[in-house]
C-alpha cells in the first residue's frame, strides 16, 4: 500500500472499507438507486473506483465524472461517449455479448441539443436513445452507472443556464429511474464533493430526488484508522510507537484517510531530517504544523463557500466559521444572532448551517444546540488563514 495524497486511491492502495462497500452492494442488489453522501475528501471517489474495479458477478460498471458539463447536452454526451469507449466495450465483450454487439454496431454519430443521432440516420431524444441502448443487455446482467460530481453539473447548469434546465436534467433522471424497463437493467449511483441535496433544495426540487437511497460514507473509526496508519507506516518505512499513533488519531479526530495520509507524508520528511524525532508525541504536532503550510490542500474549503453562496450567505458562513475557529464551539442562538447581522432570516440561516454540516465543516453531534468543527486540523487552518 502506497501513501497517496489527494489522488483517488485504487487497487492495492485502497483501504478496505468493507462496511461501506457491503452497504452499497446490498442497496444495489435490492434494486434501489443510490446517492452517496459524504463531505469532500472522505473517500467517495475511491470507493466508486473500488466498485468499478472489482464488481460483483453479473454487474457491469461504468464510471463517469461530469463536473465539467454545464448543460444537459454535454452531460449526455459524456454518458454516451463513456459507453462507446474502447476500454468499456472490451470489458463488455466478456460480460454482455449482445450489448457489446449493439454498442459496436450502432455508432452514435452526434449528440446534440436535438437528441442523439445514430449511424443509421435515426434521431432519438436522450431518454429514448439511452433506453434503446440498454435494452439489449442480457436478462441476468445489470449496468451500474456511477455519476461522480453530479451535483456540480446541476450547479453549473443553474449558474450558466437556468433553473429550468437544471430541473429538466433532474427530471429526466427521475424518469429513467422510474422507467421499469430501464430500472431493471440499470442502477444509478450519484456522488460528488458538493451535496446534491443542498444544491437541489436550493431550487426547491428536493422531491425530484426523494426516491434515491442515500448512503453515508463515514470517516474511519478509531480502530480502522489505527490499522490504516500502521499499514501506511509500514509501507513508508517509518516507525511510530503505539501511543504516538493514538496521539495522532486524537489530534486528527476526524479520521478521514486524506488527513492521515498527509500527516504520514510530513512525518516521513521529519524522520529524514532527524531520525530520533519521531519517538515522541511532539513530532505529531510538528507534522500538523507542517501539513497546515500546504495551502493548496486547504484553500478550497474556503473558496468553495465563495463560489456556491451569495455574497451575504458567504459572509455569514465565514463569520460563523471564524468564530468557531476562535472559540472552538458556538451555540445555535449565537449563530442566529450573526444571521441577523447579515440580514438572513432564521430559516435561511438553518439551511446554510445544514449545508456546512453536510459539506463536512462542522457538526452538532454531541449537543444539538452546539456546533464545532469536525476536524481540529481544519479549525486550526481556518483560524490561522481565514479568521486572522
Amino acid at each position: 500500500m502506497k501513501n497517496c495524497v489527494g489522488q483517488v486511491v485504487r487497487g492495492d492502495d485502497f483501504w478496505d472499507r468493507t462496511t461501506e462497500l457491503e452497504t452499497i452492494w446490498d442497496a444495489i442488489d435490492s434494486g434501489s438507486h443510490i446517492l452517496l453522501v459524504a463531505p469532500r475528501r472522505v473517500g467517495k471517489t475511491s470507493i466508486m473506483h473500488k466498485i468499478k474495479d472489482e464488481p460483483k458477478e453479473g454487474y457491469i460498471v461504468i464510471y463517469i465524472d461530469t463536473e465539467s458539463a454545464d448543460n444537459e447536452n454535454e452531460f449526455w454526451h459524456k454518458i454516451f461517449n463513456a459507453m462507446q469507449e474502447e476500454e468499456f466495450v472490451n470489458r463488455l465483450k466478456s460480460k454482455s455479448k449482445k450489448l457489446c454487439e449493439r454498442v459496436k454496431n450502432i455508432r452514435i454519430k452526434k449528440v446534440s441539443a436535438s437528441g442523439v443521432k445514430f449511424g443509421d440516420g435515426q434521431t432519438l431524444d436522450y431518454l429514448a436513445a439511452f433506453e434503446t441502448l440498454v435494452k439489449d443487455l442480457e436478462i441476468d446482467k445489470k449496468l451500474i452507472i456511477m455519476v461522480d460530481e453530479f451535483a456540480q453539473t446541476i450547479e453549473n447548469i443553474i449558474k450558466y443556464e437556468d433553473i429550468k434546465n437544471a430541473n429538466s436534467l433532474l427530471k429526466a433522471h427521475r424518469a429513467l429511474r422510474q422507467n421499469q424497463k430501464v430500472s431493471e437493467k440499470v442502477t444509478f449511483i450519484y456522488a460528488g464533493s458538493i451535496g446534491l441535496e443542498s444544491v437541489v433544495s436550493k431550487i426547491n426540487s428536493i422531491k425530484i430526488i426523494n426516491d434515491l437511497n442515500s448512503i453515508k460514507v463515514l470517516p474511519l473509526s478509531n480502530s480502522e484508522a489505527f490499522k490504516f496508519v500502521s499499514q501506511l507506516c509500514l509501507s513508508t518505512k517509518i516507525e511510530l510507537r503505539e501511543e504516538v499513533i493514538y496521539h495522532l488519531l486524537n489530534k486528527v479526530e476526524w479520521l478521514i484517510p486524506f488527513y492521515l495520509q498527509l500527516l504520514i507524508q510530513e512525518l516521513k520528511i521529519l524522520s529524514r531530517e532527524n531520525t530520533e524525532s519521531l519517538s515522541d508525541a511532539s513530532s505529531i504536532d510538528i507534522a500538523i504544523d507542517k501539513a497546515l503550510e500546504h495551502r493548496s490542500y486547504f484553500e478550497s474549503w474556503h473558496t468553495k463557500l465563495k463560489e456556491s453562496f451569495s455574497k451575504e450567505e458567504y459572509l455569514f458562513a465565514k463569520e460563523v466559521l471564524n468564530i468557531i475557529s476562535e472559540n472552538y464551539t458556538m451555540e445555535s442562538s449565537a449563530i442566529i444572532n450573526i444571521a441577523a447581522k447579515h440580514s438572513l432570516d432564521e430559516d435561511e440561516a438553518k439551511d446554510m448551517i445544514r449545508t456546512l454540516v453536510y459539506d463536512g465543516y462542522i457538526n452538532n453531534n454531541e449537543n444539538p444546540k452546539v456546533y464545532r468543527y469536525n476536524s481540529p486540523i481544519l479549525r486550526q487552518w481556518w483560524n490561522k488563514n481565514v479568521a486572522n
Binding site: D65, S68, K78, E85
Partner: protein, 669 residues
Amino acid sequence: MLQTSYSRYKYTPDEISEDEFLKRFVVREDIFSDIFEDIKSSDDSNTNQHYILIGQRGQGKTTLLRKLQIEVKNDKKLSKFLLPIKFAEEQYQIRSLCRLWEEVAEYLQTFYEDEFTTVLDDMEEHFEDEDYYLKCFSYLESVVKTKGKKLLLLIDNIDELIGKLSEKEQRQLREILISSNIFRIVGGSTKMLEHQHDYSKAFYEYFKIIKLKSLNAKESREFLLSIEKEEQKEQIQNVIKNSPARVETLRRITGGVPRTLVMLFDIFLDEDGNAFDDLLKILDEATPLYKHRMDDLPPALQEIVHTIAINWDGMLTGEIAKKLRLESKLVSAQLKKLEKYEIVESESIGKNKIYKIKERFFNIWYLMRFGRKKDRQRVEWLIRFLQSWCTQEELEERAVNIIENITNDKLSSSFIFHMTEALSYAGLDLDIDNKLKMESKKHLLKKNSTFAKELSESDNDILGKAIQLEQKNEVDAAILLLLNSKKDSSIINHMLAQMYLRLEQYENAEQYFQKSFYKQNSQFSANISIAYYTTGECKDRALTISQSLYTKQNNKINTMLYGLILLWDEDFSKSYQVVENYFQEEDEDTFIIEYFKLLISKGQFYQAKKILEMPEYQLKERYKPIWYALITLMQDEFPHEIKKMGRELAESVEEVLKEIEVYKEKYAI
C-alpha cells in the same frame, strides 16, 4: 567583444550534457528516489499520484524533472512503456487544455515517431468538429492506450499553465486527473510560494506537493564538490578541508539555494567577469517575478521589506521600528504577515527575533536595484562574500588583476563597476584602491558607461578632502565626511581616530584605533575574549565581544569561541547550534576539548554523550580521555562501557575529571 554566453549553461540544467548532469546530481536524492520508486511500483490498477515540486528560483526543480526524464529512459523496464515528455521551460504558447493535449501529441509524433507516426495529424482531422474540445483528450488517450504506453508529463512552471485554463477547462482537467491513468504529471512551480498565488483551483488537491528545502551544511559541501571540473576540484577540496567556515558563510549568504551557491562560488573562481555577467543576467530574468512580489504587497509591508532588504543582515523588530519611526507592536504584527507569506524568516535569539529576507537571491536583486548609489548597499552581499572568502592579500591580488585586465579591454563595464566597489569597501591598500578606482573610472568614461558616475570615491580622495577640511579647522565636517564614506579600511579608521583625538573625544578615538588595528590583526579582539575566558572573569563582556566577532566573520576561531562563551552563559541550545559544524575537524583541537570539558562541568552529560557518539564526527574515538571521563561520571548507567577503557588512559582521564571539577566552580554563574 565581450563573451557573454559562455557559461550560462551551468545554470540551466537542460543544457548540460547528460553524463555531466548525472555526475552532478548529488543532492535531493531522497526526493528523486521517492518519486522514481513510486513510478516503478505503479501498475495498471492504480490511478497515478501526481506531484508538484515547489521551491525558490534555483532550488533544483528543473534539475529534478530532467533527472526523472533521464532515469526513466535509462530504466530497462520502464522505458518499454513509459514515455517521458518534457516541454522546454518557456513553452507556454499553451493557452488552452486542448493545446496541451495537442502539444503532447506533437511531442509524441516528433520524438517517438516510430510508434506515433500520425497522432497529431489524426487529431487535426477532428479540429473542425463541434465537440472537439470535449473529445480531444479521448483521441489522445485511445491512441496511447492502443500502443500500450503511458506518459510521464514533466511540466515546469505548471502554475502558469493552470492559470491560463478557463474555469471549465479546470473542471475538465480535474475529471481527467480522476478518471484517466494513462499519464502522470510531475510539475515544478515557483509561484506557488508567492503569497498572491491563487490556490483555489481545487485540483491542486490531487497533487502531492513537495517543497524543496535549502541545502544543509553537508549537502552544500557535497554539492560544491560535484559541480566543478577536475582542475578546480582540488581547489574546492582545499577550501572544504581547511576552511569549512567559508562554505558555511557561502551557504548563509545564498540561503542554501543550489544555483545561487554555484553562482557565487563561480565568482570566487572567476578571473574575467563572465560568471558575474551571468549572475546579472539571471537577476534580470527574475525581475518580473520579484517586481510582482513587491507590487502585490500593501505599502506598509513594502516599507518593511525595503528596510530589511537594504540592511542585508537580519534585524530586530525594535531596529526596524526605529528606522520606520513606528511602534514595535505594529511592526511586529506586519512582520508576522510577511513571515506567513514566506518573504521574511525569523530566528529566535533569546526572547527577541531577528528577521531577514528569506530568499537571499531576492535580497541580492533588491540591493542591486534599490540600493543607494555611491553607497556600499548595492554590493553589500558581494563585500560579505569577498571578505569571508579572501584574505587581505587575495583581495588585493584580485584588484591588481582587474587593473591589468581593464587595459586589455577584456572585462564588461558592470563587472568592473561592481567588483571595484565591492573590493574597495572590503578594504584595500591605499595605493591599490586609488589605482583601481582611477583605472575603472577612466575605462567606464571611455565606454560611456553610466556606471562611471556611480563609482564611489577612493580612500585617497576621501582622505584628501578630510585633510583639507581639517586644515580649515572644520574637524566636525571632516569626521562626518569620513563616517559617511562607510569605508572600513584601516587608513580611514585611523584618520577618524586622529580626528577624534583632536576633539579630545578619547573613547571614540580608541574605538577607531581599535578598528584600524583590528583590520590588520583580527586576532586582537579574539585575544581579549580568550583572556576573559581563561581567567573566568567578565563573562558578559566576553559574550559581547565574541558575539560581535562571530557576526562579523564566522570563521572557526570566532565560532568556537562564541560557542564556548555561550556555554559558559548556559545558553545551551544556541551554543550547540553555533558550533555544530566544527566537530568534523580532523586534527585534535583544543577548542573542542575545552568545549566538552565545559559542557560536562555544566552537567550536560546526555548532550555531551550524544555529540561524542555522532557517527559522522567519530569524536568518541578521537577524544578518548574526554569520552572515558564522561563515562566515569555516567558509570551507574553504563557500567559496561567503562570497562573498555585501556589502562594507559587512566591518568589523562583523571586529569580531565579534575579539570571538570575546577570548571564547575570557575564557570558557575
